[in-house]
């Protein structure tokens, strides 16, 4: 399905990442959104508040992030595409509802413009320390998808991708921006609507009397039902059977939660997305995502000037983690260097994926500023020896 022209601002723009993310959501068909102000994500909700009324949609600033994160789910069951936007403390408040969306298979998007933490931390400065929270932040076993854009253009393009993946897999998608990407202004090209592919919501073909709301086919993703059409389905955050009815048993838990996890794990190849720079002959493999993947481009340049065969592997979809490809590259490398704005989060996943094929070294940073490419270079030089 092609994008609804109403929401697409075709043309060449000069936008910051927050605004570009908003335009991506509108292009993806988001017409109902809820949010709460919090730096550095406020510009997303400000823009969507001014844009939605022009395209036949509604934005409501809710009383808190908890309300926003469940209002989107009410809207989605009502047939809308919906998202909410926040940062640090607000995302922490939303976590219960990430779990609800995972459990009830509600396709929706949570935008996290990451700032320095923990707690109130550094509201106006960048961080990348919510990466594990995005994956594990709600209680219980579940899978989500997370995407880390590194430019305003990607904030637009990948926001559409986020909505599409949410629909295809019926999961919450975490859109992991950061303060730097959110506040940097660059050229953003918005294509014409017929060049934007939109994943339609999959509705059941069964009549109400035959419909089982949580019975999935081989793709493990059950089709949804429209409301008000006699399907009279029940949705619950309790462990439920294929009818959607609560069942308190280990068997029901095994059947449901196993599928929720498997629908992502067994189809990870379809979801994973990464970028590579100069990896063909890389002996030192840098791994970075989001804003940091741009910072280390400079490191890459400097290293190559010094004759070090350095390359960069950048997870674009960070969860599920593109580990298979990383392992292939690591096998040919002398060392893997993970650069991230935290004290060691995705590095754990990198170590897991690399699985001893090469030594893994972390270049941590507490956030509040970006890495110095020359400092990263020092580590590259060290491990290249």
């Amino acid at each position: 399905m092609k994008a609804d022209p109403k929401g697409v601002l075709t043309g060449t723009h000069f936008l910051d990442g927050d605004h570009a993310c908003c335009e991506g959501a509108l292009a993806a068909g988001c017409r109902v959104a809820f949010g709460y102000p919090i730096t550095p994500s406020t510009e997303v909700v400000e823009r969507i508040a001014s844009r939605l009324p022009e395209v036949g949609g509604v934005f409501l600033q809710m009383e808190d992030e908890i309300a926003s994160s469940i209002a989107i789910q009410g809207a989605v069951w009502g047939g809308a595409r919906s998202m909410t936007v926040s940062s640090g403390p607000g995302i922490s408040l939303m976590m219960e509802h990430v779990g609800l969306a995972a459990m009830t298979e509600t396709p929706c998007v949570f935008v996290n413009v990451q700032r320095g933490g923990p707690s109130t931390g550094l509201p106006t400065l960048p961080g990348q320390a919510d990466m594990m929270q995005a994956r594990w932040g709600s209680h219980g076993d579940y899978e989500i998808i997370a995407i880390a854009p590194n430019s305003p253009q990607e904030c637009f393009d990948l926001a559409i991708h986020a909505f599409n993946l949410a629909e295809r897999f019926r999961v919450p998608v975490m859109f992991m921006m950061d303060e730097s990407v959110g506040h940097m202004t660059e050229k953003v090209v918005i294509p014409p609507p017929d060049a934007i592919e939109i994943e339609p919501r999959r509705f059941t073909q069964e009549p109400p009397e035959k419909y089982l709301p949580f019975a999935a086919g081989p793709d493990l993703v059950p089709p949804m039902a429209p409301i008000g059409k006699g399907y009279r389905f029940h949705v619950t955050g309790l462990t439920h059977d294929e009818r959607g009815y609560p069942v308190m048993s280990a068997e029901a838990q095994e059947k449901l939660v196993h599928r929720l996890v498997d629908k992502i794990r067994t189809r990870a190849d379809e979801i994973e997305r990464s970028q590579e720079f100069m990896t063909e002959d890389a002996e030192v493999l840098l791994v970075a995502y989001g804003i940091t993947s741009r910072v280390v481009q400079r490191t890459l340049q400097l290293a190559r000037q010094k004759g070090i065969k350095a390359g960069l592997f950048r997870p674009v979809v960070v969860w599920p983690f593109p580990g298979k490809r990383l392992r292939e590259l690591a096998r040919k490398a002398k060392a893997v260097v993970v650069v991230e704005l935290n004290y060691g989060q995705m590095v754990l996943e990198v170590e897991r994926a690399v699985c001893g094929a090469a030594p893994v070294r972390l270049v941590p940073h507490g956030g509040g500023a970006l890495h110095d490419p020359e400092q990263v270079l020092k580590v590259v030089e060290e491990v290249a020896r």
Binding site: E63, I70, G74
Partner: protein
């Protein structure tokens, strides 16, 4: 000869019976009154969406054979707000308990009332957290006993009618589960009334609240409601406190008209944006 069927059966998920509520619990009465209100008002079953939070009353969504959502603790109202915003043509009814709606969900309650979101909130007030075994609720009368107030509650409880009224609800009523006719009528009225409507239902909890407080069984509760309810139609909501084993003021206290959230949105945006703005559907005909 076929077995006569209860007329409310089409509204129930009969394949889920028996339900989890205790003998003598008042929640079933509330479900019955709602089904009767739907029947009597000839409301299309597929035009109504039911949202619940967590707790004993939160299970109502699971027993109504309608599009129904059992959400998280305290958050039925913001879910309902999202649903109503996406589908203004639907009637959205929230059923939940006093703990769910007023303790953990209290902020959402007052903001939805302030905004005049066009949803109907049926709050079953049994003065306790039944599902978890009888902890103190924000409605628990002073000196009542709860597992987490073993020597008696010493906090001032909420007067829910006053709370809903002062936050801006356009319809506020309180009945007990003894008042099945009045309760069904109140539900009929709110199904027809645009805006944020709040119906409090005082309900017995013989297993937990009454047992701990030595207040007898379900029948004693009914007798008590019959004897102690004081019809107070149109009363000043500040006067509607419910003392421990004191009189229970009941009736319809508030019935006024205010534009709904979406109506207000259309008015303001229409004024400011002019021709650029297409009015959003509100689901309200006036």
């Amino acid at each position: 000869m076929t077995q006569p069927r209860n007329p409310v059966e089409p509204f129930l998920r009969m394949d889920r019976m028996p339900h989890i509520w205790c003998p003598g619990c008042g929640i079933g009465v509330v479900v019955n009154c709602f089904a009767r209100a739907m029947l009597e008002s000839k409301t299309d079953i597929d035009s109504v969406q039911v949202v619940s939070g967590i707790g004993c009353t939160g299970r109502i969504a699971g027993y109504l054979r309608m599009d129904s959502y059992h959400t998280t603790h305290g958050r039925a109202i913001p879910f309902a707000t999202g649903l109503k915003t996406a589908r203004p043509d639907m009637k959205v009814v929230v059923f939940s308990g006093d703990g769910d709606l007023v303790a953990i969900g209290g902020n959402h309650l007052i903001h939805a009332a302030r905004r005049n979101v066009d949803i109907k909130v049926i709050c079953v007030n049994n003065f306790t957290y039944g599902m978890t075994g009888g902890q103190v609720a924000p409605t628990a009368p002073i000196e009542s006993v709860a597992t987490t107030s073993p020597f008696g509650v010493f906090e001032q409880p909420f007067n829910l009618a006053f709370l809903a009224d002062s936050a801006g609800a356009v319809y506020v009523a309180r009945w007990t589960t003894y008042h099945v006719r009045q309760l069904a009528k109140a539900m009929r009225e709110v199904l027809q009334k645009p805006g944020f409507c709040f119906v409090e239902v005082i309900a017995p909890c013989p297993t937990i609240y009454q047992r701990r407080n030595r207040l007898g069984d379900a029948l004693d509760a009914m007798r008590f409601y019959k004897q102690q309810s004081k019809l107070s139609e149109g009363a000043d909501t500040r006067t509607l406190d419910i003392p421990m084993q004191g009189p229970i003021p009941v009736g319809r206290f508030v019935n006024r008209d205010r534009p709904t959230l979406l109506e207000n949105m259309n008015t303001v945006l229409g004024k400011r944006l002019g021709a650029k703005f297409t009015p959003y559907p509100t689901g309200v005909t006036r």
